[in-house]
Symmetry: C2
């Protein structure tokens, strides 16, 4: 899998919003996804293409409409392979890491 494509795709707030919308209701058309957004349809198309390249969504043409489906697999793969290694029993204790570091100076 291409980690980089997924991370880069997730880096944009508009694209995360589109994934959120698909999470709320899967299988929406391009027109559906554009509604209410302060963006042209073409901008949304580009974002969806980036998400599709990263394999975060899959599409299906149905007549003149294009349906979009979320694919949770890449996100979960990253969660397992990348985020898992940062877990640890002392995680909660580290939440004030910076504070502690700053306090060590005296």
């Amino acid at each position: 899998m291409d980690d980089d494509a997924v991370f880069r795709a997730l880096a944009d707030a508009s694209r995360r919003q589109l994934l959120d919308r698909l999470h709320d209701r899967d299988g929406q058309t391009l027109g559906d996804l554009c509604m209410g957004l302060q963006m042209t349809r073409q901008a949304v198309t580009k974002h969806l293409a980036i998400l599709e390249d990263a394999n975060l969504i899959a599409t299906k043409r149905q007549g003149r409409e294009k349906l979009h489906f979320i694919n949770p697999v890449p996100i979960n793969e990253i969660a397992e392979r990348w985020i898992g290694k940062f877990e640890g029993p002392r995680l909660a204790a580290l939440s004030d890491l910076k504070t502690r570091l700053e306090g060590e100076d005296q």
Copy 2:
């Protein structure tokens, strides 16, 4: 917390590599982190600043050196709040989502 800063910080492969290095050995200096990289020290400094702004690392001056410490909290927060919602019992069954969609046409 600022989701956007974290996602954008993680979007760059060089920055993920720096986090990997700190994961291998925490508390490295800027010089340590530069070694072996095809990048100038200033480029690395910029990457580290972005990681620090996203609260993914914390730093501490020690004499003329600057020590860098990884902070796993933001990554785990994102994992819990953002990635968790894409989990589901039918996750494995969806891994061939696109294939199935393409097969539905006939």
